[in-house]
């Protein structure tokens, strides 16, 4: 018998050996695969390759590196998600601040291309909802290429520092523009932030204030000139007849009262502006009688302006302050007379409605445009400033509006230029308490 490995000639043993070798090869491939994948993962985590001499195949399986790395990645992803969530919140917070600040704000890059802009900028500077991102700010905002001294962007790019331009006109409004650079770590300008503060209203107020000073000076000086003139005449002039003297003194008194009225208006408006308000005492007042009293005060003018009444026969009672109601009527009547041509009829209507008492003062004067009506309650506003012949401080209607509001009333103005104006005021009436 020839010497050879036991059972080597048994076909079944040969088959099993081959099978065993195939399985061992598969096993090696599996370990190589695991080791390669672990190395891939470790590479991402940031370490060097796992060498077989550091961790043999059995230890590799026992250590469960795939499990470790997989769990680690889960925590890394959780951390990334949390960081993203916080970033999104911060972004949304910044966007909200960006959109709610009063100024129109633009961010542009070094080539003037718009990178971002807030809602105010879209509304005030652009004027439409179209996409302007990527467009050059000078093409979108400026009608012509501005000179360097008028361009806040160029000033920042040239100086590398914050720059301000005041009163820049744009789309019919005025802006104070503040611009500042956003720099990279090396100091190079990356973006320029430009904040446009709308100063149109502040400018208008300044203009109105200066107009008011000149108007008030004129208003105060005219009666003063009359008073001084007649006082001088009485003191230094030839002796006058007693009735003449009385007339002059009457004029002096009348003009003094006018001055007192202007000063009183100024004090009222300053109290209203200071938030102190006016002290009002509410009691039942006969509005119909107050209308007639107010008209008596304008008897001199009534020759030139007939005043017609339509008052309820059984009277009209309003819960209000007697002085304030008189002031409202005085101001409305005075405006109706001032802005009416000679002979123009003025009409005062009072009607009792179920829940209110309505007062209407109508004239056939020069009237107002809807734009003028919109501003009529603003202090110092005068509808026809060009018409210097009409005296006034521009405070009357502001005070009327305040007093009507203080009575929980409503005021409305209807007017047609050249045809006349009607001011309607509704005072609420107390409902009788049902038993």
């Amino acid at each position: 018998m020839t010497s050879h490995e036991p059972f080597s000639d048994v076909p079944e043993v040969e088959r099993l050996r081959a099978e065993n070798q195939r399985l061992q090869a598969l096993n090696r491939e599996a370990f190589d695969y695991i080791r390669a994948k672990v190395n891939d993962l470790l590479d991402v985590v940031g370490t060097r390759t796992l060498r077989p001499e550091e961790l043999d195949n059995q230890s590799l399986v026992a250590l469960d590196p795939i499990g470790i790395v997989a769990t680690t990645f889960r925590h890394v992803l959780e951390n990334v998600r949390e960081t993203n969530r916080q970033l999104q919140m911060a972004h949304s917070e910044i966007q909200t601040i960006f959109d709610t600040v009063g100024s129109a704000t633009l961010v542009v890059d070094r080539q003037r291309r718009i990178v971002s802009l807030n809602r105010q900028a879209t509304k005030l500077l652009i004027g439409h909802d179209g996409d302007v991102i990527g467009q050059c700010c000078n093409q979108v905002l400026c009608e012509a290429d501005p000179a360097p001294e008028e361009c806040v962007f160029l000033q920042v790019m040239n100086s590398g520092r914050e720059a301000i331009i005041r009163g820049r006109p744009l789309r019919g409004r005025f802006f104070d523009v503040i611009a500042a650079p956003i720099c990279e770590e090396d100091g190079q300008i990356l973006h320029v932030v430009m904040a446009y503060h709308d100063v149109t209203e502040a400018r208008q107020v300044e203009k109105m204030k200066s107009e008011f000073v000149s108007t008030a000076a004129h208003e105060l000086r005219s009666p003063l000139a009359t008073i001084m003139g007649y006082a001088d005449l009485l003191l230094n002039g030839p002796e006058q007849r007693p009735e003449q003297t009385r007339d002059y003194l009457g004029l002096i008194l009348n003009r003094s009262e006018h001055l007192a009225h202007i000063v009183s208006d100024l004090l009222d408006i300053s109290r209203i502006e200071a938030g102190e308000g006016l002290k009002l005492t509410f009691e039942p007042c006969r509005l119909d009688l107050l209308c007639r009293e107010a008209a008596w005060g304008h008897e001199d003018a009534s020759d030139r302006h007939p005043i017609e009444f339509d008052l309820p026969a059984d009277g009209a009672v309003v819960e209000g302050d007697h002085y304030a109601l008189t002031q409202i009527l005085e101001n409305l009547l005075s405006n109706a007379i001032k802005y009416s041509p000679q002979g123009g009829t003025i009409r005062i209507d009072v009607r009792n409605e179920p829940t209110c008492c309505e007062l209407a003062v109508a004239d056939h004067g020069m009237g107002m445009t809807s734009d003028q009506i919109e501003h009529v309650f603003e202090k110092f506003y005068r509808a026809n400033t060009s018409n210097t012949g009409v005296p006034g401080t521009g405070l009357g209607m502001t005070i009327v509006k305040y007093l009507v509001d203080a009575h929980n009333g409503q005021i409305a103005i209807a007017s047609t230029p050249g045809a006349g104006t009607t001011v309607r005021i509704r005072f609420p009436v107390k409902q009788p308490i049902s038993e």
Binding site: T47, L50, E54, L63, V69, H75
Partner: protein
């Protein structure tokens, strides 16, 4: 609140085993570490691991501080607010 200190002494191990063993312990105590209830102190003597552990820890939202102590390193791992 007292912070529990857990120590993992893997001196003698080389990287990347150091990193894997450290990650395994971080995973085991991850929520306690994130909430600041636990601080993990790992003792290693593989210099390579001192540069691989801190970035991996940071990616997981934690912070690590490495100190050289005689002939080994002490890596203290905690949530960033604890400033390990």
């Amino acid at each position: 609140m007292t912070i529990e200190n857990i120590e993992l002494d893997i001196r003698g191990q080389v990287c990347p085993s150091c990193l894997l063993l450290t990650l395994r312990d971080i995973n085991k105590h991850h929520s306690a570490l994130s909430e600041g209830r636990v601080r993990l102190t790992v003792l290693i003597d593989s210099r390579d691991a001192t540069s691989t552990i801190p970035p991996a820890v940071k990616n997981m939202g934690l912070a690590a501080q490495v100190d050289k102590v005689e002939d080994y390193y002490r890596v203290v791992i905690a949530r960033p607010e604890e400033r390990p």
